[in-house]
């Protein structure tokens, strides 16, 4: 009996390396099974679902955390784990974990579906180069920034004339600087990419005066000075409210009156002073001078 027990023990000792090898193989296969369970793609487009095959038996806890998502749920090993498109709609980095094994993957933006259009400024002087700025950010239908290059068309039309420029986005953004048109009026500024389009209105107003001409006449309170209608160099009337400065210089010094353009002309009253010099200016534009003589 003892002999039988001894031979069995010796047999077991002889087979120990095989047993250990088997044990290691089981462990290795188990690890392999978990690695297979987390075999996820490195990237996938936003809004596409994910089906992850698993092996093994029993239940395990699945964790998925990413932008806008944090899921914990029990899953059945040996079956596919389904992640819904709704849980993978936000572009970014996701961590998935299944009972100790983890993996990361990225969701990237889908195709361009909408744009954000910044148009500045809302009022620009007419006939001025590089004065209208347009910036477009392109987004997919889940509001993810689309980083793949996309064509963006910018179009400014005013008084029947139109300027179009096409740019390609870089890092999800495209921008343009455009000239204003010669004539004043509302300009339609449209940006579009694919089916997405946005419109802005840029008010083109007269530029700085091209020249200023004034006349003077005696008035019961002194001297009445008045400009001719003031236009920019493209012939647009300079907007009402633009300030015109009249200056009277005589032996006593200087008198200055700021007047706003009203219905295209500016006027002011100055103190009467024989031999005075009267000048007029608006911004950087200087008009004619008058030597005043009392009659």
């Amino acid at each position: 009996m003892i002999q039988v027990f001894r031979s069995a023990s010796l047999e077991a000792v002889r087979k120990l390396p095989d047993l250990l090898a088997m044990l290691l193989a089981i462990c290795w296969l188990s690890i392999g099974a978990y690695a297979a369970q987390l075999n996820v793609p490195a990237t996938l487009p936003a809004g596409s679902g994910l089906s992850i095959p698993t092996s093994g038996r029993g239940h395990a806890t699945l964790y998925l955390v990413g932008p806008g998502t944090a899921i914990k749920r029990q899953v059945q090993l040996g079956q596919n784990i389904e992640i819904s498109p709704d849980d993978l709609k936000n572009a970014g980095r996701y961590v998935i974990s299944l009972d100790g094994g983890s993996a990361t993957f990225f969701v990237t933006a889908a195709a361009v579906s909408s744009i954000t259009f910044l148009a500045r400024p809302s009022r620009v002087p007419a006939e001025t180069p590089n004065v209208i700025f347009g910036t477009v950010f392109v987004f997919d239908k889940y509001h993810n920034l689309v980083l793949q290059p996309a064509h963006v068309k910018f179009d400014v039309s005013s008084n029947g004339a139109s300027v179009t420029r096409t740019e390609i986005t870089k890092n999800g953004v495209a921008f343009v600087k455009l000239d204003s048109s010669k004539k004043e009026g509302p300009a339609q500024f449209i940006a579009s990419s694919g089916n997405a389009s946005m419109r802005r209105v840029v008010q083109e107003v007269a530029s700085d005066p091209c020249s200023i001409r004034m006349s003077a006449q005696p008035d019961k309170n002194g001297i009445l000075v008045q400009t001719d209608p003031i236009h920019d160099c493209a012939g647009n009337p300079v907007p009402d409210g633009t300030i015109v400065t009249f200056t009277l210089t005589d032996a006593k010094g200087k008198s200055t009156v700021d007047a706003r353009i009203k219905r295209g002309v500016a006027e002011a009253q100055l103190p009467s002073s024989d031999g005075a010099t009267i000048s007029v200016a608006s911004g950087v534009v200087v008009g004619n001078e008058i030597q005043w003589r009392e009659r």
Binding site: V65, G66, A70, R93, F175
Partner: protein
Amino acid sequence: MKPLRLILTAAFLVWAANVLAEKNLDPVLAAGGPAVALNVENATPRKVEDTTRMAMARDYSAAWATMAEALEQNRPELLGANFIGDAKATLTDTIDAQRRSNLHQHFIDKGHNVEVVFYSPEGSAIELHDTAQLELQLLDGSKLVHSEDTTVHYVVLLTAAENSWNVRLLQAVPGF
């Protein structure tokens, strides 16, 4: 011994400042926020002014600090005004989902190397490329589910508010 240490410390700080100035980097620490080294050399089409650069780095650092707190404590109200628009909506959704699942995230922020890649002509929007060094942990209650020490790339949109820069988009990407 103490004066020597002081001199050595001062010398090191001067050297570090020079190195950072040469690289046009500004390490900015918001109150309790992570270090943000900001490179504005490649900003286009508009150059970034010094005051803007400092404000941007300060506000971006503050945004990360508040985000870390909000994700750890599952309190969306901590996001405050640092995040707006889609960035705030997405983070709020994450926190709400974490709260429902009894999950939270803890991260040790080891700093950000940030490059300005776009500054809009009119000055109202900025796009950044951020390479962040993070130690991330996902916890189920007090049980550690996942832990990693990693580098994550982010595309970030900041928009100008009255006197601050707010994060409008924070999107992790595989690389730049």
